[in-house]
C-alpha cells in the first residue's frame, strides 16, 4: 500500500513540472511589459532599466525559466506587483476562503447527489424518478454564474423586498458590515448565512452530475445477486438499500471527486466574482486584468497542483475502499 502511494506520488512529480513549464512559457509569450505597470511617464531611462533589473526582466527567457523553477522548489513564488506583497502571502491570505467554499459545496453536492441518485434508482421509472431526472438535467445544463444571479434575485432581492419572506440571504461578501460588533454566536450565524447562496450555486450544478452517475451505479448494484439474497433473507428494504447496496454503489462515485475538483475550482472563479467572495479565483482574475504575472503564474500553478493531488487522493481512496483493486 505505502509502495503504491509512493509510486503514484513520484509519478505526479513530472506532471507538476510539466504544468509549471506550460504556465511559464504561456505567460512569457504574452505581449506587453509588466514593468510598465509600475512606471510613471516622467521616469528616466536609467530608472526604468533599474526596475527591470530588479524584477529580473532584463534576462533572456531560458535563464528566467531555470531561475523560476529553482525559486519555486524553495517555495519562493516571487513578488506580486499589484498587492505589493510576496505572492505566497497573497495566496495564503485568500486560499482558506476558497477552501471553505469548495469544501462546503463538495460536501453538499456529494451528500445530495448520492441521496437523490439512490432515491431515483430505488424507484426506477416512477414519477419521482422521471421528474427528478428532468429537474436534475435542467440544473446540470446550467451555467453556475447564472444560477448564482438567479439565487441572488430570488432568495435575496425578491425574498426581502417583494415577497417579504421571513428569511432571506445576504448577496455578497463573507460577513455582514456589522460583523465586528456582533457576539460570537451571531458572528457564526452571520458567516453561515453568507455561505448559503455561494455554496448552493456551486453545489446544485455538481449535485445534478453526481446524482446521474449515482443512479446508474445504484441500478447496476441493485440487480446483483447479493442484493437479491438480502431481500430473500427478509431484511427490510431500508437495510438492504442503505447497508448492502449503497456501500457498493458509492465506490465508483469516489473517482468522481478527482474528476470534479477542476470543475469545482472553475466554478469558484465565477461564484467568487458574483458574490464578491475574497478567494483565490477572484484574485487570479483580478491579477490577470492588472497584468500581475507572478501572481497569475503562482495562482494557476497552485490550482493545477491541487487538482493533481486531488486526483491522486481519489485514486488512493478508490484502492482503499475497493479491495478488489490491485496496487500494480
Amino acid at each position: 500500500m505505502t509502495k503504491y502511494i509512493l509510486r503514484r506520488l513520484l509519478g505526479a512529480v513530472p506532471l507538476v513540472l510539466g504544468i509549471a513549464t506550460i504556465i511559464f512559457f504561456l505567460v512569457n509569450l504574452a505581449p506587453g511589459d509588466p514593468a510598465l505597470l509600475l512606471l510613471s511617464p516622467g521616469m528616466s531611462q536609467e530608472v526604468v532599466e533599474q526596475m527591470r533589473a530588479n524584477f529580473g526582466l532584463d534576462q533572456p527567457t531560458h535563464i528566467r525559466y531555470v531561475k523560476w523553477v529553482g525559486a519555486m522548489l524553495t517555495g519562493d513564488f516571487g513578488y506580486s506587483f499589484s498587492h505589493s506583497r510576496p505572492v505566497v502571502a497573497v495566496l495564503m491570505n485568500f486560499f482558506p476562503n476558497t477552501l471553505l467554499l469548495s469544501l462546503c459545496a463538495l460536501l453538499v453536492a456529494f451528500v445530495g447527489g448520492i441521496v437523490l441518485g439512490t432515491i431515483q434508482a430505488v424507484r426506477q421509472y416512477s414519477f419521482t424518478d422521471s421528474s427528478l431526472s428532468v429537474v436534475l438535467l435542467f440544473f446540470y445544463s446550467m451555467p453556475s454564474f447564472w444560477l448564482a444571479l438567479m439565487l441572488i434575485l430570488s432568495m435575496s432581492v425578491f425574498a426581502r423586498n417583494v415577497w417579504h419572506l421571513p428569511i432571506w440571504f445576504p448577496a455578497s461578501g463573507m460577513t455582514g458590515s456589522d460583523y465586528d460588533f456582533l457576539s460570537a454566536g451571531a458572528q457564526f450565524k452571520d458567516r453561515v448565512m453568507h455561505l448559503v447562496l455561494p455554496t448552493m450555486s456551486l453545489a446544485l450544478v455538481l449535485m445534478a452530475g453526481i446524482a446521474r452517475y449515482m443512479r446508474g451505479s445504484m441500478l447496476e448494484v441493485i440487480r446483483q445477486d447479493f442484493v437479491r439474497t438480502a431481500h430473500a433473507k427478509g431484511l427490510p428494504e431500508r437495510v438492504v438499500v442503505f447497508k448492502h447496496a449503497l456501500r457498493n454503489a458509492v465506490i465508483p462515485i469516489i473517482t468522481l471527486i478527482g474528476l470534479y475538483i477542476p470543475v469545482l475550482f472553475s466554478g469558484t472563479v465565477f461564484i467568487e466574482v458574483v458574490f464578491a467572495w475574497p478567494g483565490m479565483g477572484r484574485t487570479i482574475v483580478d491579477a490577470i486584468f492588472t497584468r500581475d504575472y507572478p501572481l497569475v503564474m503562482a495562482g494557476t500553478f497552485f490550482f493545477a497542483t491541487i487538482v493533481v493531488l486531488a486526483n491522486l487522493v481519489a485514486d488512493i481512496l478508490y484502492a482503499v475502499v475497493d479491495p478488489r483493486i490491485r496496487y500494480e
Binding site: 444571479l149 477542476p262 487538482v307
Partner: protein, 343 residues
C-alpha cells in the same frame, strides 16, 4: 414535420417580404439569411414530397447498424425533442436578420425606452442602452452556436487523430501523447482559458481556437481506450497482414469504428463549450461588446439585477435550454449507439 417547416419559412417570406428584398443587397449575413430561407423552402418542400411518396411505397427491409441506431433514437421522445430544438435554433440563427424585430445594436430613446419591461414592441424588454433584448438574444444565438460547433469540430478532429495514433502505435508515442493529455486535463480548464485569453486580445477567433485546443484531451482518452481494444481484433490484424500502411489502417479501419462514442462526446461537448464561452464572456474575456452574446448579456444584467430582472434572466434561460437540448440529444445518442443499452 417537413410541411410545418415549409409553412414556417413561407410565413417569414410573406410577412417580411420588403425586408427580404432589402436584404438581397444588404450585408453578408443578411444575404446569407436570404439564401438560407430559399434553400430551406426548397429543401423542406422536397422533403415533404418525399415523405408523401415514401408512404405509398412498400418498404424493403435492409437493416444496418446505423439504421438500428436511428430507429432506437427516434423512439426516445425527449432526445427527439432536443434534436428538434437544436435544428430550430440553427435555422433561427441563420435567418436571424430576417426575423429579429429590431437591429441588435440600435439604441432607442434613452430617456423613455431605457430598461423598459416586456411589451408588444419589445417582447423581452430593453436593456440599459435602450436596445431590444429579444433581438439581441436572437443574434446572440448565432455567436454561441457557431463557437460551440467550431470549437468542438476542432477538438474532435485533433482528439480522434491523436487518440488513435497513441492507441495504435503504443510505446513512446503513446506515453508522450498521454502524459501531455494528463497534463492538460489536470489544469482547471477555465483558469487556463482566462490566462490565454487575457494574455492575447480577446476575439471570436481566439476563443474558438482556445476552446478547441483545450477540449481535445478528453476525446483523445476515449478514442485511445477504444483503439486499444480494437487493435487486437481480427479485422485490424488482417489489415496489418495485408501490409497496409499505418496511416491507412488508422484512417480507414480504426477511426470509423470508434466514431460512435466520439459523436456522443462531441454532442455533450457542444453544450459544455457553450457554457464555457458564456462564462468567458461573463467575465469580460469573451465576445466583446457591442456584439451581442448570451454571456455578456447576463453580465450586463448583473449591474441592473435590482431594477431590471429580465436582463440576465432571459439570456440565461436561452443558455440553459440550448445546453439542455444538446445534453438530451447526447444522452439519446449514447443509448442508441451502444448496442448493450439498446432495448
Amino acid at each position: 414535420m417537413a410541411m410545418l417547416a415549409w409553412l414556417g419559412l413561407l410565413w417569414i417570406v410573406v410577412t417580411r417580404f420588403s425586408d427580404l428584398l432589402e436584404a438581397v443587397g444588404g450585408r453578408w449575413d443578411e444575404q446569407l439569411a436570404v439564401v438560407m430561407v430559399a434553400a430551406g423552402l426548397i429543401m423542406s418542400w422536397v422533403w415533404a414530397w418525399r415523405d408523401l411518396e415514401r408512404s405509398r411505397e412498400i418498404k424493403v427491409l435492409g437493416v444496418s447498424q446505423w439504421d438500428l441506431a436511428v430507429r432506437a433514437f427516434s423512439k426516445n421522445r425527449t432526445a427527439v425533442a432536443g434534436l428538434i430544438v437544436i435544428v430550430a435554433l440553427y435555422v433561427v440563427a441563420l435567418v436571424t436578420p430576417l426575423i429579429a424585430p429590431h437591429e441588435p445594436s440600435v439604441q432607442y430613446d434613452l430617456v423613455s425606452q431605457r430598461l423598459v419591461g416586456m411589451s408588444a414592441t419589445h417582447p423581452l424588454g430593453t436593456d440599459q442602452f435602450a436596445r431590444d433584448v429579444f433581438s439581441r438574444l436572437l443574434y446572440g444565438a448565432r455567436i454561441s452556436l457557431t463557437i460551440g460547433f467550431l470549437a468542438v469540430a476542432i477538438s474532435v478532429t485533433i482528439g480522434t487523430l491523436l487518440g488513435a495514433i497513441a492507441g495504435f502505435m503504443g510505446g513512446y508515442v503513446d506515453s508522450a501523447i498521454m502524459r501531455f493529455v494528463d497534463m492538460v486535463i489536470a489544469f482547471p480548464r477555465l483558469v487556463l482559458l482566462i490566462t490565454i485569453v487575457a494574455i492575447f486580445e480577446p476575439s471570436i477567433f481566439l476563443i474558438v481556437a482556445v476552446l478547441g485546443l483545450t477540449l481535445w484531451p478528453s476525446t483523445a482518452r476515449i478514442v485511445r481506450g477504444e483503439v486499444l481494444s480494437l487493435r487486437e481484433r481480427e479485422f485490424i490484424q488482417a489489415a496489418e497482414a495485408l501490409g497496409y500502411s499505418k496511416r491507412r489502417i488508422i484512417l480507414r479501419h480504426l477511426i470509423p469504428n470508434v466514431l460512435a462514442p466520439v459523436i456522443v462526446a462531441a454532442t455533450l461537448g457542444i453544450g459544455n463549450t457553450i457554457v464555457l464561452e458564456a462564462g468567458l464572456s461573463f467575465l469580460g474575456l469573451g465576445v466583446q461588446p457591442p456584439t451581442p452574446s448570451w454571456g455578456t448579456m447576463v453580465a450586463d444584467g448583473r449591474t441592473h439585477l435590482l431594477d431590471a430582472w429580465w436582463l440576465s434572466t432571459f439570456p440565461g434561460l436561452a443558455i440553459v435550454f440550448t445546453v439542455l437540448s444538446f445534453n438530451l440529444v447526447g444522452d439519446g445518442l449514447r443509448d442508441a449507439l451502444d448496442p448493450r443499452l439498446r432495448t
